[in-house]
Amino acid sequence: MKSTAPSMHAFKVEYLQPFIDSLHNLFVTHLSMTLEVGKPILNQDGRPAFEYCGVIGFSGAVAGRAVVSFPAEVAIELVKAYLGMDEVPEEVITDCVGELANVIVGRAKSALEQYQIAITPPTVVFGSNFRLSDQSGATCISIPCTSGIGPVQLEVSFHDAG
């Protein structure tokens, strides 16, 4: 019988575009905010840029972790805009950062359909003192962005799934 298991893929730059498109869709199309997407750079120390981090793991023929990180003041303003509320309690901000990561990575996953990627439920981490990947040899890419409400950084780490 022919195996249906996905074959593994080495990192390719085109894996990043769906994540950028998804971030753009959220900010520009859905929230009517501006978003300038910077040049992707290799993240040498493997740590996120800002303290509010929505973390999603993904696995399949392409495996790794995506982190959307915001400074606290940007996270709060973004959550207010996303929910259409003037005030939001702390627990809602935390949950919403996870949901925003879920929306960004989930939509990107769909664009990478051919790689049969599955994603984990989001985790929200405070502080940048964690590594984007616990896999040795992982490729960590940072995509710095500037939105109408402040900086946002998308970090994507890929590793061999095999």
Binding site: H30, Y82, L83, V92, D95, G98, S110, E113, P121
Partner: protein, 127 residues
């Protein structure tokens, strides 16, 4: 109309609740597919059954597709309308959900207009 929003994200449930309550409906909530099945039975037992479900796909315990299949396997819920609200944008996922009995499919992030249009279409009301 009573609507059940099913999502493991409190944020996602809050968005649905705010949107459909603003359209004049009442909302009950569940955080996963199993809770949704239990909630549907409880609300039916109360005499004011749920008429539409807005259902996420990726959830712990029981995912949205499994929940949808359980709903469609129960003759008590034949008239129940189910709208998937998910980040799963692959054509195969949409086809799978429709074949399993979904009456509508909207993608996150969802705007109030899009969600209400899908809801009105599913229940046969004017948008």
């Amino acid at each position: 109309m009573k609507i059940l929003t099913v999502d493991d994200s409190m944020t996602a449930r809050l968005i649905v609740k705010k949107t459909v309550e603003g359209d004049g409906h009442t909302v009950v909530e569940a955080a996963d597919g199993q809770q949704a099945i239990d909630k549907l039975a409880a609300e039916a037992g109360s005499g004011a059954p749920v008429e539409a479900v807005i259902l996420d796909w990726n959830m712990p315990v029981m995912n949205g597709l499994e929940c949808l299949k359980k709903i469609r396997a129960d003759s008590a819920y034949q008239a129940l309308k189910v709208i998937m609200c998910t980040t799963e944008a692959e054509k195969t996922s949409i086809v799978t959900a429709i074949q399993a009995g979904a009456n509508g499919y909207v993608l996150k992030p969802v705007s109030p207009d899009v969600l209400l249009k899908a809801l009105h279409k599913a229940v046969g009301a004017a948008a």
